[in-house]
């Protein structure tokens, strides 16, 4: 179990990580999401004891990483961001060295090294110099280094960057497999990866945690409207008047004319209304022929962008509170925030104009 309590990291005056707290339970696979420079790597480096937090506590399986580093670090396998390796060693030598560093018992060492080599599919290259390996193999060697000694906690900083699609699926499956026995934290900015592998997502932006939840909940939470994508043949241009016929419709947006004479629209409604049935009934009466009708899915991507964009990020505590509030209140708050942003923008534009006049 990993407990991060009120951790802050400052570099001079800039705050890289700002008072974050979260826990990761045993056997959880947690995704760490955030734009570049959000503080993902810094947080991971602090959890692994590579750098020390300015304030706060990090506890790994009951051991404080700053006070009992030896015990705490024994429980961690870490694959750093840029895949650092000793290029002058062979794969096997490197993994054995990592095993020694991790204090794997002497009599078990050989066997465990062989196990990891097999598990990671490195047998072909085990006697090759790491210098001569391809990127994908290097990544796997690095991962093998993190897995040796089967630590309880595995921390992977962007494990799939620079791999080809086949290798990516391999590594993902492997991580899923790992999640059964170990606690895994991985950082990434590939969102589909998170929704595939992770049970929990921590979204971090500008050093602050802005959401902790399951990927599904995040998608649901940020969904304010239902969207229906519609492709129709509409010779009499009756689509414009549809809004009068069906009052639940908030907006009808024309997307494009298709080559075959059909038109594409997106119809939006409140999130609690599903109009698909009604559309099927009413459109034929209006002499509109439906070619295609489907619900637009909100993805984690939308959720992510929405959460990052709300510049007034609530801190974690506020976030927890706001979860308890009803969805309506949340949406109200969000529109308020957005309004504020717009106001701010207008102000800045005005100021700019004033300056220009001067």
């Amino acid at each position: 179990m990993i407990e991060v309590k009120n951790v802050t990291k400052k570099y001079g005056t800039t705050i890289a990580v700002d008072n974050i707290s979260f826990t990761v339970n045993d056997g959880e696979v947690v995704g760490f999401l955030g734009p570049n420079g959000a503080g993902k790597s810094t947080t991971m480096n602090m959890i692994t004891g590579f750098i020390e937090p300015t304030k706060g506590q990090i506890i790994i399986n009951g051991n404080d990483i700053s006070k009992k580093p030896r015990k705490a670090k024994k429980e961690i396998g870490y694959m750093p961001e840029n895949v650092p390796l000793y290029y002058e060693l062979t794969t096997k030598e490197f993994i054995s060295y990592m095993a020694e560093l991790k204090m794997v018992k002497r009599n078990e060492r050989k066997q465990k090294v062989e196990e990891v080599i097999k598990e990671m599919g490195l047998e072909e290259v085990k006697n090759k110099l790491i210098r001569n390996l391809s990127r994908g193999y290097k990544q796997r060697v690095s991962l093998a280094g993190a897995l040796i000694g089967s630590p309880d906690v595995i921390i992977l900083d962007e494990p799939t960057v620079g791999l080809d699609p086949k290798q990516i699926t391999e590594i993902r499956n492997l991580i899923k497999e790992l999640g059964k026995k170990h606690t895994v934290i991985l950082s990434t900015h590939i969102l589909s990866e998170v929704s595939q592998i992770c049970e929990k997502v921590i979204i971090i932006n500008k050093g602050k945690i802005i959401a902790v939840d399951t990927p599904e909940n995040l998608e649901r939470m940020t969904k304010e409207q239902n969207g229906i994508s519609l492709i129709v043949e509409d010779p009499k241009n009756k689509m414009d008047k549809l809004k009068d016929k069906i009052k639940e419709i908030q907006n009808i947006e024309f997307i494009k004319d298709n080559e075959d004479g059909t038109k594409q629209y997106i119809i939006t409604t409140n999130s609690d209304i599903d109009l698909r049935k009604k559309l099927f009934e009413i459109l034929p009466k209006e002499e509109i022929v439906i070619f295609e009708l489907k619900k637009t899915e909100t993805t984690l991507e939308d959720a992510f962008i929405k959460l990052i964009d709300t510049t007034k990020q609530p801190s974690e505590e506020e976030n927890k509170k706001s979860k308890k509030k009803s969805k309506k209140q949340q949406t109200e708050e969000k529109t308020k925030n957005e309004n504020n942003n717009i106001n701010k923008e207008i102000k800045t534009v005005k100021e700019d104009k004033k300056e220009e006049k001067k």
Binding site: T48, F50, E52, R70, E81, P84, L89, E100, K102
Partner: protein, 227 residues
Amino acid sequence: MWSIYKKELKTYFLSPIGYIAIGIFMIMYSIFFYLTTITYGSVDTGNLYYATARYGLLLMIPLLTMRMFSEERKSGTEQLLLTSPRSVTSIVLGKFFAAVTVILITLVLSIIYAVIISFFGTVNVPTLLVTMLGFLLVAMAAISIGMLASSITENQIIAAIITIIALVAPWFLVDISSIFTSIDLIDKFMKFPYGLISIADTVGLISITVMCILITIVLIKRRKAVK
């Protein structure tokens, strides 16, 4: 410490660095062997070690120490070391003793020359051993200085230059003030070739070594908090 020591020593001989360092020693030693021993027919070995220490170490030590921490930092492997359960002290000592071992190997090889001399005259074995001890102590102090230099920069070349300056500067600074003799390693080596173990010099060399190792450890620990 042992695992880091083993790996570092192996790395010295997987790359050409270990061989080059030993080669430099042998070339220097051979040149002085020719210039003094053969030319004058002397049986004095002390002079050979003194000259090699003065000029050979200037090249050998930066070679051995410049990569120690600079490269780990640059390539990021530092992260692997510092996130392992090993303490900073054991990492620093492991690296230090690996470099010392290379020096020990050269000293063992240098015995060949004493054997050659012994065919033509008598070698004063106790003096030879004392000289070698002195050489080792000087080399250890120089390694610790080089290690410290390597821990403060990511750039190997800068680390090497700092090391060379730290070794050479005291020779000239002595002209400004006699205080600088206390950091002149070669000055502390003067008495060993005569078979004398001077307590002051021995303690001086050992304190420089210990001090530099301690500063290196503190610096690396400190960087964890600042970085």
